[in-house]
């Protein structure tokens, strides 16, 4: 290799591995930050192994990838053989074309198309739970199949057509000839196809995002949904582990496996010949088959077991749908609330219960899945305006408060709120108020105090804004004293003008990226929720001094526990809600999320007050005496579809500028 090409190669590999090196490094970081390395620690690895929900999604991802790769390999190989032998030219070229479609279609189209079909069919047949492991598996098999076929088919075409004939000539049945001669020849292509299928399935996010359903979540979706708090570093630990496992596997396969490249194979054969070992004895051949067969069998059994455990679950199943990172999950010595519930239930009722806990990234995301009618959940935790919308669309069931005695501990401030005036459909879980976070090392505290800080040209290029139409428009409307729930388009146009004016000073439109940017000092001003300020405070860089204030007026929001109409076990769901309101879990959740709790068992608990400290208590619980009035005046309400569509259009206008 010439020097120039050597340098180029090294640079390219540096480029390819740079982010992986970062992940590797920061997986050992003591702090939560991905930008500031504060010390070596194995903490995130411990966290990872304690995080049962994440481990479950890892298992799900692997099961899905193994099943998808196994089934698509068997079906794809059979299909390739069939297509290869096909005499009918038209059928063959038609199949060729169809095979190319999933490769030409972007993932997002494949995902949407499958989702539309599954949803439509499930509505037609009245199936409640049609989006599930099965649909995900179907989708994955579908996009894996072409890769297998397009690996095997050229190999078949290259293969000397007289090879199987020679085998038959020597006494093999056609079936025997396929197994003994054609298959070993195709094996490298099949294995390559299978590895590709496995890789694609493992890494897929987009298609899974659209086709996933009740109770089965894969790792990429879990990561995507970590919007309430941002991606946790145990994900880096996980990525690092995956990296080393793969490295080990590849090294191992390099030592034992047959290679694909013709040239390497020839060289290897020459070496074997020199050693006087046959290239492949029947035993070796059998071993290869056994390995391949074992993998396929494993895939089939895994999918079978999965199907069985999915449908034939003896313990009762509770499907909970919540925001990502919105429950105490056992990390850093906290309570694993979901596991605790399962244990508590077993103790209390002497029967097992299995909680399928899945997450969503936004209210709209959750609504899209639920309104499709293709999923089935027992407990959901949406925000206020979404609750109002769902009540109006008969998507929620009234709660039987007799089953939720702990609801009595909810503060009286939370009664008579607009979204559920009678308090029959929901029990508040957490609430928050939008405030402004700023870096006092950059921002002059004299400029703070109002919404104007977000428009202040002094800090141009350092200001963050919500990457979400309703919240972004909200900041502009509160600033101008406009009604955030108006249906008057002219008012929204005014708000757009204000956002357009702001665009020049905005650094980024962000959701959970806000954590990283504020902690690292990448940006100096951001509107976000009070609780999140404390999360950031924990991880701020030494050069950063974060402060917080409430502009007036501002947004109040409440997330509340509800039971959707598709609930399969209402009593169990109510038992779960009641459990979540009891002191232990409620305090654990409040401490984990840093959000304010409406539960008196929490905010009047001395240990909790002590743990949070006076500053946090003051910010989280500002103690408005007329909470309900303020809330009803300023919280977001459900808007009609036309207005929402109009806002969406305005949002796109802002984005294309």
């Amino acid at each position: 290799m010439k020097k120039a090409s050597k340098v180029f190669t090294v640079l390219m590999f540096a480029f390819l591995f740079a982010p992986i090196a970062i992940l590797l490094l920061f997986s050992f970081n003591e702090a939560r930050s991905l930008s500031v390395f504060s010390g070596f620690s194995l903490k995130w690895y411990r966290e990872l192994f304690r995080d049962t929900e994440t481990l479950k999604t890892v298992r799900n991802t692997l099961v899905l990838a193994v099943c998808a790769a196994g089934i698509s390999t068997v079906m794809g190989t059979a299909a390739a053989v069939g297509i290869h032998r096909m005499r009918n030219k038209y059928l063959r070229s038609a199949l060729d074309m169809v095979t190319n479609i999933p490769m030409i279609d972007p993932d997002i189209i494949t995902g949407i198309s499958m989702m539309l079909m599954f949803v439509f069919v499930s509505r037609l047949l009245g199936l409640a739970n049609s989006l599930s492991f099965a649909t995900l598996l179907i989708a994955h098999i579908t996009f894996c199949l072409p890769y297998v076929i397009l690996q095997v088919l050229p190999k078949l075409r290259q293969m000397d057509a007289s090879l199987p004939e020679a085998a038959m000539d020597l006494g093999c049945t056609p079936w025997g000839a396929f197994w003994k001669v054609e298959l070993p020849e195709l094996m490298p292509a099949i294995v390559t196809g299978m590895i590709m299928a496995f890789t694609l399935s493992l890494d897929d996010f987009v298609i899974s995002y659209f086709t996933t359903g009740t109770g089965f979540q894969t790792l990429p979706i879990r990561i995507y949904n970590m919007t309430k708090k941002t991606v946790t570093p145990d994900m880096y630990a996980l990525a690092t582990l995956i990296f080393f496992v793969i490295l080990a596997l590849l090294l191992l396969s390099n030592l034992t496996d047959r290679e694909d490249s013709q040239r390497i194979r020839a060289a290897r054969k020459a070496r074997r010949a020199a050693k006087g070992r046959p290239p492949m004895s029947p035993r070796r051949q059998r071993a290869l088959y056994t390995a391949g067969g074992a993998l396929v069998l494993a895939a089939l059994t895994a999918s079978l077991i999965f199907a069985v455990t999915e449908t034939d679950d003896k313990p009762q199943v509770l499907n909970v749908y919540n925001w990502g990172e919105y429950i105490s999950d056992g990390s850093e010595g906290t309570m694993d609330v979901v596991a605790e519930f399962e244990r508590w239930y077993q103790r209390q009722y002497g029967r097992p219960v299995q909680v399928n806990y899945t997450t969503f990234a936004s209210n709209e995301d959750m609504y899209a899945k639920l309104s499709s009618g293709a999923v089935s959940y027992d407990v959901i935790i949406p925000s206020d305006y979404m609750i109002a919308r769902m009540i109006s669309e008969d998507m929620l069931l009234p709660l039987d408060l007799a089953n939720i005695p702990n609801a009595q501990y909810i503060s009286e401030d939370f009664q008579g709120l607009y979204y559920d005036p009678e308090g029959v459909y929901s029990v508040p879980y957490a609430y928050g108020i939008v405030g402004i976070i700023y870096n006092a090392n950059v921002v002059d505290p004299a400029d703070a105090g109002t919404w104007d800080l977000l428009w202040n040209e002094k800090y141009a290029g350092q200001i963050l804004q919500f990457n979400n139409s309703r919240d972004a428009f909200g900041t502009a409307m509160y600033r101008a004293g406009l009604d955030v729930n108006t249906t008057d388009r002219a008012v929204w146009d005014d708000a757009l003008d204000s956002l357009m004016e702001q665009r020049g000073v905005v650094r980024s439109y962000v959701m959970d990226e806000v954590y990283n940017m504020m902690e690292a000092g990448e940006a100096a001003v951001a509107p976000y929720y009070a609780g999140d300020y404390f999360t950031m405070l924990d991880a701020q860089a030494p050069t950063v001094d974060l402060r917080f204030y409430y502009p007036d007026p501002t947004n109040f929001y409440i997330d509340a526990m509800c039971i959707p109409a598709c609930c399969q076990n209402k009593t169990l769901a109510e038992t779960f809600i009641n459990f979540m309101l009891s002191a232990g879990p409620a305090i654990a959740n409040a401490e984990y999320t840093y959000y304010a709790s409406p539960n008196t068992l929490v905010y009047e608990d001395p240990d909790y007050i002590d743990e949070m400290g006076p500053e946090a208590m003051e910010i989280l619980y500002p103690g408005w005496d007329d909470f309900a009035r303020q809330y009803n005046a300023y919280a977001y309400r459900n808007l009609d579809a036309e207005t929402l569509d109009y806002i969406n259009t305005l949002w796109e206008t802002l984005k294309i500028n």
Binding site: G82, M235, Y236, N254, S508, L644, N648, W651, I656
Partner: protein
Amino acid sequence: MNDRSRRRSLVTGVTSAPYQLWAVLFILVPLAFVAYYAFTDNAFHFTTANIARFFTATSPVTDAGGSPVQVRTYMVIAWRSVKLAVIATAVCLLLGYPLAYIISRAPAKVQKTMMTLIMIPMWMNFLIRTYAWMTILQDTGILNNLLAALHLRRVHIIGTQTAVIIGMVYDYLPYMILPLYSIMAKMDHRLIEAARDLGCAPAGVLRRVILPLSMPGVVNGVTMVLIPSISTFYISQKLGDGMFFLLGDAIEGQYVAGNLHFAAAIAFILMVALLAAMALMRRLTGKYTYGGAAA
């Protein structure tokens, strides 16, 4: 038809039948649903309004001179998506082509190792990889700290078009290298010697022999990079600071907003456009093959 050829066609039918059924049920029918949703309203009555909206919806923007003008919203988004995807694809080709060539000329053992190394990043979750790029590229990120340590000028990349392109190039580069490598590894090196023998300078060999021979790999690679780049929505959100609204963002946004029919319409138009582009590319390059991306 006699017994045995009947049996043979039966075998053919049986082995490919599951796939044929699968292809119809899960490839063709879903696409039909995209078309169906694209051409219907919420009550499933036929309408072309969704399609028309894509082409006619306008938004006020401020032009370079600061005066407001009306532009076609989705044309602007589509144009931006195409532009970024084409640039990303071109960069992938420029980087991937020489790398694939270098690898294909390396000793057999090195080839295998290098291709493995190229595959490895694909096994790490792409969301996490993209996230990692965020921390590398941001103003206080690793790259800028490195530059500062070397007493060089800091660069502002995050949130720019460059960042989005870097993200796309990073995520999809292996899809360019794999098909290119697989075709170059198969190339008969005597052809290169023959060209040299006939008086071709190295540049001429590249232009007149290697390039035409590797054309199917180029077509494959370009297809496999262009398509995901044009429809991504995660990369633009994370690395573009939310400033770059692409077709993928538009589809996802409409889906989340509950406008399934308009989301389907955008998807439908994108699909038709891509099919047309592929057909055009096939015509321009003569021969084409998909897949064949061997590791």
